[in-house]
Symmetry: C2
Subunit: 195 residues, 2 copies
Amino acid sequence: MARKTGSHSEITGPRVQAAALRLIAQHGFAAVSMRQIAAEVGVQAGALYNYTNDKQTLLFDLLRTHMEHLLNALGTLPETGTPMARLEAFCRFHIAYHIERPDEVFISYMELRNLSADNFAAIEALRRRYESHLDAILKDGQAAGHFALDDARVTTFAVIAMLTGVNTWYREDGPLSKTDLADLYWTLVRRAVAA
Amino acid sequence: MARKTGSHSEITGPRVQAAALRLIAQHGFAAVSMRQIAAEVGVQAGALYNYTNDKQTLLFDLLRTHMEHLLNALGTLPETGTPMARLEAFCRFHIAYHIERPDEVFISYMELRNLSADNFAAIEALRRRYESHLDAILKDGQAAGHFALDDARVTTFAVIAMLTGVNTWYREDGPLSKTDLADLYWTLVRRAVAA
DNA sequence: TTGATAACTGAACAGGCATTCACTGCAAAG
DNA sequence: CTTTGCAGTGAATGCCTGTTCAGTTATCAA
């Protein structure tokens, strides 16, 4: 039988992911070498191939894992309530989730172009699933007369871009608490869409 | 005296910039080699060094040129009129300018981390000058009672993120004209800030 | 204690990298 | 028609790249 206790692979595997995530977010996928990632983990470059088929797959797994976790977390939001309440919940969720994972969010936007065609399509499909959640809320609210939207699809893009933009400037040690932050953005979204 | 007519440098120089811009936008700064850029122009790699000190400077010049052109164009907007009119002019300008220059906008966000510390600071200063223009409009409108803002600085970030986000999805051959686009976003901004 | 094997090393492979530079060809100035 | 010097070549420099793999180590099951 294989070893169980004392097996390093269950420790090293996540450490490879974490090192790759941090370094790629900081320097970019193409600028980071397998040797750099290995050094961060404390192994030789060859050892990384126990945990990934190749560099491309390592990137893809980071993005896929992030999108899957995001969708899982989204799934825990209540599907009931008024469209206005669901929109507020979505906005607060989006900001809270993204602000805690700046590296994942960053590379999920920045490194799409470094994915192979197949891998890109897979990530894009997950992203569309996420966006369609907001789209559905907006269309429900529109139909119920709570929202006044000229174009729900464009509003979806606009709201997501606005909310995700938080990551480019928010600093934990700045003057605003995370609650302040969510309140400010929610006010902007509410007024932009309210009938 | 040096040659004037027939000199190639006035042709090749801009072609180097254009090739670098296109390739970096498509593949990323670190993923593009000087040989690739040279091949796109139709020269050997060594010839590029007649037009740039090194690869880093080539990137910096692309970003600096973009930001300077952006600020120059911004400077042609009228400074008079109500804050509401000036905000509308800014929003329409921002969308129109950015939608026409997807490559420049893309690398200005994506490749900041590949700049040296000094170069990064220079680009950031230009970006802050641009943002401060919107910030001033919002504060004027707030003071005059036309806008109801909880935090002008955050609203600046939110509006710019929202407007710039257009570039991630808008396609020239899609169902929306550029006028439709500007109208839709302006409605969202107006309602988000209006008193 | 022995045998199995997961985890890892370290060297090797073939190729690409940015940058430099002696040199060439050529167009224009005088 | 000679001189000037710009624009570009192509080879060379030293280094880094992703990936593979035979061999080593350490820990477990039996």
